[in-house]
């Protein structure tokens, strides 16, 4: 096992760091600062495309960089640290599915995806359903040489900006992945009423491919969370050093510094888990249990670090004009994207009998 990064990876990381910094600097930070889930930002998206970030995990022959989830992780971590929210995890998921299952024609879309010209995002979530790779109420029926979709997907992040969606829908007992163009979105809600769509791959192959694509996108999410935690911890230690109460810097209050130390521990354990998840996904994107363990570690760490970052700041941490709370907001969202800690623990709990000790080398 080797946790060091090579020169090329370092260069990528530094380049993304610089870009992310400049994107963050352009965002408003006083006055009516936006909060919560972001809108798609065309300019930022183009800049990411230009740097090759959008096509990182797309095979070279399909117009991408042919890099691995490790490079994806390095990039996503920098975006997280700079608080640049984007559709990157969603786009990665969609691209992985198309690259694995798509026809030649469908794969040809990936060149535009890598170039930032075509935005394709997944539509997995359904109203009043917890996260699942199986579609629940959205159905697909054969219609001519294509398929017709019915039902509602929500929330579909970035639906309004997307050119195409990859939609999970029930076809009989199975769930398939369907490509659809020009779906009408109202905010993050997309309703289909017999909309015509293409099946991507086969119904039989969808479940496993979907899990693999989710796993790779999860690496991007967890890396972004790691970056957010790093940012939140750095802001918190800075604040403890500079802020005064009772006439002294608040870092003289041991109860605060010991809690900052616990935050550091959470961040470092999460770092190990994220880097491991990236390495595992690079080797075998189907190694779901290891990725799930990483999700649990990062989910718990993110909650701990996000909550403590606000608490140790006090009131200022609650304000939109101050960055630290935005980290917490994003960490909360990541924890509920493509699964969450609760469900993931439940899934892991069902497999604890299948092994003795967890083997990180296998």
């Amino acid at each position: 096992m080797d946790f060091t990064i090579d020169t090329e990876q370092k260069a990528l990381r530094d380049a993304v760091r610089e870009l992310a910094g400049s994107l963050a600097d352009n965002a408003p930070s006083t006055g009516d600062v936006p909060v919560g889930p972001n809108e798609h930002d065309e300019k930022a998206w183009s800049a990411l495309a230009e740097m090759g970030v959008l096509g990182l995990t797309v095979p070279e022959e399909l117009g991408g960089m042919g890099a691995t989830p490790v490079e994806l992780m390095l990039a996503a971590q920098e975006l997280g640290k700079a608080r640049v929210q984007s559709a990157l995890p969603e786009a990665v998921l969609a691209a992985a599915l198309l690259a694995e299952l798509g026809t030649e024609e469908q794969k040809a879309l990936l060149e535009g995806v890598s170039a930032g010209e075509t935005l394709i995002v997944p539509a997995l979530h359904e109203p009043m359903c917890s996260f699942s790779l199986q579609a629940h109420d959205v159905t697909a029926t054969e219609s001519g040489d294509g398929w017709a979709l019915s039902g509602t997907k929500a929330p579909v992040r970035y639906a309004a900006a997307a050119d195409r969606l990859l939609v999970t829908a029930r076809a009989g007992e199975q769930t398939g992945v369907f490509l659809i163009e020009g779906a009408q979105a109202e905010g993050d809600v997309v309703t289909f009423d017999g909309a015509s769509a293409q099946l991507v791959g086969s119904l039989d192959g969808a479940a496993d491919a979907l899990q693999r694509a989710v796993n790779v996108a999860t690496v991007a999410l967890l890396a972004e969370a790691l970056g957010a935690m790093e940012g939140a911890l750095a802001m918190t230690t800075e604040y403890l050093k500079s802020r005064k109460q009772f006439g002294v810097p608040i870092m003289t209050f041991q109860t605060l510094t010991q809690r900052a130390a616990d935050m550091y521990v959470s961040v470092e354990l999460a770092r190990s888990a994220v880097q491991f998840a990236a390495m595992v996904a690079a080797e075998d994107p189907g190694a779901t249990d290891h990725i799930r363990r990483a999700r649990v570690v990062v989910g718990k760490a993110g909650r701990h670090v996000g909550q403590e970052a606000i608490q140790l700041h006090g009131g200022i941490g609650m304000t939109a004009e101050y960055a630290v709370g935005h980290y917490t907001t994003r960490l909360t969202a990541i924890e509920h994207t493509l699964g969450d800690t609760r469900q993931t623990i439940g899934e892991l709990a069902r497999t604890v009998r299948d092994h003795g000790a967890v083997d990180v080398f296998a």
Partner: protein, 393 residues
């Protein structure tokens, strides 16, 4: 030692529940239950109805609208009010400035302010915290200097909740900068928000809501008869107020309602072949929180009964500390139940994703304040270790 309710108290409980669930407009209560932002009008409407029936300020002196209730009855009142989703009487009026004026104000001040404070004809806001005086409240720097009979106030307050609606502000100001200890030389002033020289600037929070503000004072002239009690004795009134706040804020009824709602939600969100409530981890978490909320409620009942001479038991710090933790834990749970739906932020009705789910994340984020405002949990632990356990740093 017994737990049954006397017939009288049981009847009281019935009566008051009946009142809350019929006299207060259902629309307001539903909004409150769903966790949406209430308008100023909602809050005023509700408090006026309460006040007309003597239910707005029961802990005040009877002559100013209070009730001669037992601690248990007050608990039932609070509990049923929160259970029914009735907005609490504005705490700045009912639990803060009102009791201070009633306890330390002159007859003139009482007659002038208490009736309108109870009826919310005056909307009060709080001017305590400053940018450099948060947990270290006594380090405040806003000054009031005598000019004839008047005071001239200069400085800045912050974290002024709902200051945008306020008619008046009660403020701690430094009237004697020479005092040997910083706790001395502070006075408690009542200030009309329309006085020239006052500016209110909103602070947007991470949930997108505007509920706190900065308030700037630039040579604001305050008539001398708006001083409460003695000059330079404001710190003791502030401590009295903060102690009341700790007792008042234990939001047991609300936590219980949230937990009941969490179960309803979890019974509706589908997971696999069943619903989220079928997940033993979710049910267990709920059972744990119910047990912890029960212990908190029992502690409210037990400690409130212990208060002496109107000074709150220092044990009331438990209520603030644990109350805020349980609020936060419960909202965290609801966000988890909402799952992917928590990624949407919206108060808009009628979509396929219910409002409780689309406000779950902002509400969860908003209540991170609960362990910061009104004396942070670190401050409460300090009160416990210093005052109760005798551990002096």
């Amino acid at each position: 030692m017994h737990r049954h309710l006397s017939e009288e108290d049981a009847a009281f409980k019935e009566k008051i529940r009946e009142f809350f669930t019929t006299a207060i407009p259902e629309e307001i209560r539903t909004k409150a239950k769903e966790g949406r932002e209430l308008t100023k009008e909602d809050i005023v409407t509700s408090q006026r109805i309460l006040n007309e029936h003597g239910y707005a300020v029961p802990h005040w002196p009877v002559e100013y609208g209070g009730q001669d209730w037992t601690e248990l009855q007050r608990h039932i009142w609070r509990d049923e009010m929160q259970a029914a989703g009735v907005p609490q009487p504005l705490p700045f009026n009912a639990s803060m400035v009102g009791p201070v004026i009633a306890a330390f104000g002159s007859k003139e001040l009482k007659d002038r302010f208490l009736p309108k404070t109870a009826s919310l004809d005056i909307w009060w806001c709080q001017g305590f915290s400053e940018p450099d005086a948060g947990s270290d409240l006594a380090g405040l720097r806003t000054t009031a200097v005598k000019d004839g009979e008047d005071w001239i106030v200069n400085g800045q307050k912050t974290w002024t909740t709902l200051g945008q609606y306020a008619d008046w502000i009660f403020a701690l100001v430094r009237t004697n900068p020479e005092a040997p200890k910083k706790q001395q030389g502070i006075s408690f002033l009542l200030i009309d928000m329309t006085t020239p020289g006052i500016e209110v600037r909103p602070i947007k929070l991470i949930d997108g809501g505007r509920e706190v503000n900065e308030v700037f004072f630039d040579n604001v002239r305050v008539p001398g008869d708006q001083l409460v009690g003695e000059e330079n004795a404001g710190w003791s009134y502030a401590k009295f107020l903060l102690g009341n706040e700790r007792v008042g804020v234990a939001p047991v009824g609300m936590i219980k309602r949230w937990l009941a709602e969490a179960k309803e939600y979890a019974a509706q969100v589908k997971q696999g072949e069943g619903v989220v409530l079928d997940d033993p981890l979710v049910a267990a978490r709920i059972a744990e929180l119910e047990a912890e909320a029960m212990a908190l409620e029992l502690t409210v009942l037990r400690v409130a009964g212990n208060s002496k001479d109107g000074r709150p038991d220092p044990a009331s710090s438990i209520l603030k500390l644990r109350g805020s933790q349980l609020e936060q834990d419960t909202l965290e749970l609801i966000t988890d139940i909402a799952g992917p739906m928590s990624l949407m932020w919206s108060e808009a009705d009628g979509g396929p994703v219910p409002v409780w789910a689309t406000v779950s994340t902002p509400r969860y984020l908003n209540f991170r304040k609960a362990s910061i405002y009104g004396g942070s949990n670190e401050v409460q632990r300090g009160i416990i270790s210093g005052t109760i356990l005798g551990l002096k740093g």
